[in-house]
Amino acid sequence: MTLIDLANPTRFLAFTARLLPWLVAATAILLAVGLYQSAMAPDDYQQGATVKIMFIHVPNAWLSMFVWGVMSLAALGTLVWRHPLADVAAKAAAPLGAAFTFLALVTGSLWGRPMWGTYWEWDARLTSVLILFLMYLGLIALWRSVEDPSRAARAAAVLTLVGAINLPIIKFSVDWWNTLHQPASVMRMGGSTLDRAFLIPLLVMAVAFSLLFLTLHLAAMRNEILRRRVRAMQMIHVAQAGQRAG
């Protein structure tokens, strides 16, 4: 099966129907392994047991940015190839991205309290993640507030791409901001190179969460395709009623 074939929604539905069970199984196994390993991981000599938060915080933080990347690719698909499946991919990804960003924020805060003594700091990275979260919410609001999905898709695509250009700028400018006002003081942990004892559980969890995203994304895309079919059929229903009346 080629990529072109997959672009056909019906084939996409059939293909993902076969793929999803395997994905679910793989995700579940990897998550179980990751959780076990992180439970078994030793305490850090500086952070003690709180280092365990890292195993969920970092994958979520990575995913929060990765999902925006996925949406940007989909946005290109929408604008350049005008492909409805790209719209679907972008729309399905937005709530997932928002959820991962939310988790990065919450787990980070919960980690920050024991480490820094405060839940929230107007620090560079934290603030840029908060802005990312706001942008996800704005994007979801945009998707929800337009009736016609293909119109919404194009508007959202423009915004996603503009936002994607902006993300590195935020990150980069935020360094300037920080050096001007206060010296960088965060995101340190027992040395910059991670010990293998932490690295391996972290990587396993990262892969597990990525698989989780992939699974949820494909499932959400299927839902979205079905939703559009329902919508199209309702429209036809309305038209047929009109025909009978007129």
Partner: protein, 222 residues
């Protein structure tokens, strides 16, 4: 009565549907607050001190941004003609529209204040005080702003001066709102005085606003 409730329900429904009204107002509020540290710097003590002003400015802006089309939208599509002709007194219709606007755009701001207070490092009592002053003061913003919104209908033939004359009326609200919130934080005993002035301003707006708006609408149609 049922006419007014129909009007309120319609306006709220439009607000919620068009651009997500309430939620978006809150987003906007949130974004303004998030912007502050970027301008001021991540100095938590300073942020806490500026907190009331930031929250009040955000609230003012969030209400202003949507208020200017309160009547012009209805004028442009002809609804206002029918509203004027109807059996409901125009003053009541104006008040109903303002109330709907406050419910859809002002109240959510009050409700969102606690979350924003957290971000600005305000303690619980300060946050509560600010929320209280916003609850008492945002109706004044809406009802005074309504006069400007009504003038905007009259003025589409020029003469923006009047609209600008109305804006200054909202400054006292802002000043007493901030003053009351700060009093609540620094010297709780003197909270009462500015707060009661704020309430008085709101009452004043509640009465004057609908009459002034209706008067200017009556003369503004053509």
């Amino acid at each position: 009565m049922s006419a007014l409730s129909a009007l309120i329900r319609r306006d709220i429904r439009i607000a919620l549907r068009v651009g997500g009204g309430a939620l978006i107002g809150v987003f906007f509020f949130l974004t303004v607050v998030v912007l502050m540290p970027f301008a001021i710097g991540p100095d938590l003590a300073l942020l806490a001190r500026l907190g009331p002003a930031i929250l009040w400015l955000g609230a003012l802006l969030a209400s202003l941004l949507t208020l200017d089309r309160l009547f012009t939208a209805d004028h442009d599509d002809g609804s206002l003609d029918l509203i004027t002709m109807s059996r409901t007194p125009l003053e009541l219709s104006c008040a109903a529209k303002a109330l709907a606007h406050w419910l859809a755009a002002g109240l959510p701001l009050v409700i969102a204040t606690p979350v924003l207070g957290l971000l600005l490092n305000l303690d619980a009592s300060a946050t509560a005080a600010i929320a209280l002053t916003l609850l008492a003061g945002t109706p004044a913003l809406t009802f005074i702003g309504m006069i400007g919104a009504a003038l905007a209908v009259t003025l589409h033939r020029g003469g923006l001066l009047l609209a600008v004359l109305v804006l200054p009326l909202s400054i006292p609200v802002l000043i007493f709102g901030v003053a009351a919130s700060e009093a609540a934080i620094t010297e709780p005993l003197s909270f009462g005085a500015p707060f009661s002035i704020l309430c008085a301003l709101s009452l004043f707006g509640l009465i004057v606003g609908p009459f002034a708006a209706a008067a200017s609408l009556r003369h503004g149609l053509d």
